[in-house]
């Protein structure tokens, strides 16, 4: 996959609104041809601004933007080889589904016969063949989104930009559309760049994800890397659930680090690099083991009492406060119909394998 050439090159892009607000702060990244790329971050992190700069609706304050090797500075939105699916779908309310889908071809003077043929083709792609004559107000939210998709895809863009495309759909439909978008992307082979604040969406759909915070890119990685090897505190905390412990390095080297964690005491965990000073240890809740009897010695284990027990259907979350007063959360899969439930106040042992510990220096 790494052999694919870059289709989008973003070089030191800065976008300021007025003197006070820096929406995008010196971002550089490359998006590969045919990739499903996600820009993920909390609201206000600059991901939408970055996408709008790709589409040409915002002009970067400084930096370069290349699409397909072409410098995009000074190129109007209607001259760029990209198309966008808007958050509100922005389906033209006074046009039928057919006219909406064909609009991008009509304005560029494509012959009528060709428009007809390509509209048919693209509406079949999004399963809206029977809706040609409908007006948008006769469509459901999901169908309107398909119209928006069809309308963008008919232009055969080099890159399709999607701005929070699934945020207005209900949970069931959203899940179905996630799968469908991935399938569609594989079918048409166009590079997709999606903006989302929903990490599940990003993790399940994207080939690679750029996590953004405060206008800066924190990490660019595959979903697995992002989840299992976050490179900083922000990403570790933002993606999924995480037990985060702060501490000070006491000894480092020979592939381990010994950290003095407040209240819990000294923990020695594997670490490939030498460090010093303050850092964070992070452990995923599903990697924690909970037992009513003492845990084996090779684990980092503590005794404590159940603080809260929450049932979530497929899994349960148990919060254990150790005897020293630190609360750790563990996720337990409900593998059986009557998997064990814990009572608050119940005595437990909680622990994890040392190699499941992440060492975060940033």
């Amino acid at each position: 996959m790494s052999a694919a050439p870059s289709i989008i090159q973003i070089r030191n892009i800065v976008k300021r609104f007025g003197a006070q607000v820096t929406a995008v702060d010196d971002v550089s990244l490359e998006i590969r041809e045919g990739e499903f790329f996600a820009l993920l971050g909390p609201s206000g992190c600059g991901k939408t601004t970055l996408l709008r700069m790709l589409a040409g609706f915002e002009i970067p304050t400084s930096g370069n933007l290349l699409i397909d090797g072409q410098e995009m500075g000074g190129v109007a939105p209607n001259k760029r080889p990209v198309n966008m699916v808007f958050q509100s779908y922005a389906v033209f309310p006074h046009m039928s589904v057919f006219d909406n889908a064909g609009y991008g071809l009509k304005v560029t003077g494509t012959p009528k016969a060709e428009i007809r043929e390509r509209v048919r083709e693209v509406l079949a792609l999004v399963h809206l063949e029977d809706y040609e004559t409908r007006k948008p107000d006769q469509l459901s939210g999901g169908q309107r989104q398909r119209v928006a998709l069809a309308r963008a895809l008919i232009k055969r863009p080099r890159v399709l930009l999607l701005d929070e495309p699934l945020s207005a759909l209900d949970a069931k439909l959203r899940e179905a559309m996630q799968l469908e978008l991935v399938k569609l992307q594989q079918m048409v082979g166009i590079t997709f760049v999606i903006v989302t604040h929903d990490q599940n969406e990003a993790l399940s759909m994207a080939d690679r994800i750029a996590v953004m915070e405060d206008g800066k890119v924190r990490q660019i990685a595959t979903p697995t890397e992002l989840y299992e090897d976050p490179n900083c505190y922000f990403v570790a905390d933002f993606i999924g659930k995480m037990n985060l412990l702060s501490g000070t390095v006491q000894a480092s080297g020979k592939g381990t680090v010994t950290v003095a964690v407040e209240k819990l005491g000294t923990l020695t965990v594997p670490c490939s690099t030498e460090t010093s000073g303050n850092l964070h240890l992070a452990i995923r809740p599903e990697k924690l083991l909970v037992s009513e009897t003492p845990l084996p010695d090779h684990l980092l284990a503590f005794s404590g009492r159940v603080a809260t027990f929450a049932y979530h259907g497929s899994e349960s979350h148990v919060f254990v406060t150790t005897d020293s007063g630190v609360t750790l959360s563990a996720t337990l899969p409900n593998r059986h119909r009557h998997s064990a439930a814990f009572e608050p106040g119940q005595k437990l042992w909680i622990g994890w394998e040392p190699e499941d510990t992440l060492v975060l220096t940033e």
């Binding site: 033209f92 006074h94 304005v107």
Partner: protein, 317 residues
């Protein structure tokens, strides 16, 4: 006294019940289904004002107040009496007379010509002002905004005097052949009706989703294509409403027209005024009725056009 008066209906009802001793009939009479069917089809909900008698009465009063004069005007246009004070029988005579009254007919044509031209121009101008104010930010925008809507608030009489002074001082040519001689009045009408169009269209633009514009641009449309294909369809209901407003404003304007019209450029309201000064004949009623019919027809046409493009309403976000 009051107490007994209150009691009376109650005792009547209980008497009534005693007269019908048959239990089956009583059950039917007391059944909620029957009461539903007879008394109230559905219980009146707290906000169901339209079904309360006092609301209906108020409504009736308002309608009488609004339309009684117009109905009278129309009715008396068929009155077979020159003095037109008491009803003396039905006739179409005065319609024929109004039709054959050359100066009245000319005034009527003048009014319609002015109304059509000024509506056309003020709709375009008003729409452009609305788009400008909605879309762009520029220095002194609020000042411009205020000045543009000044004709709405300036007393008509001041506007009329101002127009008279302006056309006199600027040496506006008089005695031009028809329809050029209507130029001054038309300009005056445009100047007071385009702000109304601007206000209406701008209100409509407030509900425009900017992403629609971006979507059109993104799909390859130029600025002009975006304006034509996306913005104008959205503005259409506002344009129709604004044009209607401009048309009626122009058609029935008296004060400003009075100051800008000359002896050979008399409009319908000015003509009617001069006729009424002698006596209100059914001829005036007949001409007015014709005007009402024309206005109604145009309004219906406009509303029908608006309904046809009903899907031009903004999509729910």
């Amino acid at each position: 006294m009051k107490y007994t008066a209150c009691m009376k209906p109650n005792s009547a009802i209980s008497n009534h019940n005693q007269i019908n001793p048959c239990p089956a009939l009583r059950r039917v009479l007391k059944s909620p289904e029957l009461r539903h069917a007879l008394v109230m089809k559905n219980p009146i909900a707290p906000l169901d004002y339209a079904r309360r008698w006092w609301m209906r009465l108020t409504l009736l009063g308002v309608f009488v107040f609004l339309y009684a004069p117009i109905v009278t005007l129309v009715a008396f246009s068929f009155n077979n009496s020159r003095r037109n004070i008491v009803w003396r029988g039905f006739t179409f005579k005065y319609y024929e007379k109004a039709w054959n009254n050359d100066s009245l007919f000319e005034a009527f044509t003048n009014s319609l010509t002015i109304a059509f031209v000024s509506t056309l121009i003020s709709t375009v101008l008003g729409a452009l002002v609305a788009v400008l104010l909605w879309r762009f930010r520029f220095p002194l925008k609020s000042v411009y905004e205020g000045v543009a809507s000044l004709p709405i608030v300036i007393p008509e009489i001041c506007m009329g005097v101002a127009m008279l002074a302006f056309f006199a001082r600027s040496g506006w040519p008089s005695g031009l052949p028809w329809p050029l001689n209507l130029g001054a009045i038309t300009i005056a009408h445009i100047s007071f009706s385009f702000p109304f169009v601007a206000v209406v269209v701008r209100a409509r633009l407030a509900s425009f989703n900017r992403e629609l514009e971006e979507a059109a641009r993104d799909l390859g449309a130029s600025e002009w294509q975006t304006f034509r294909d996306v913005l104008i369809p959205h503005m259409r209901p506002g344009l129709v409403a604004g044009a209607l407003l401009a048309f009626t404003l122009s058609l029935d304007d008296f004060v400003i027209t009075f100051f800008t019209s000359g002896p050979d450029t008399v409009t319908f309201p000015v003509k009617v005024y001069s006729m009424v000064r002698f006596s209100v004949t059914p001829e005036v009623n007949a001409a007015s009725t014709a005007l009402i019919v024309i206005t109604l027809l145009l309004t219906t046409l406009a509303l029908w056009m608006q309904n046809r493009s009903q899907s031009g309403t903004p999509e729910p976000a």
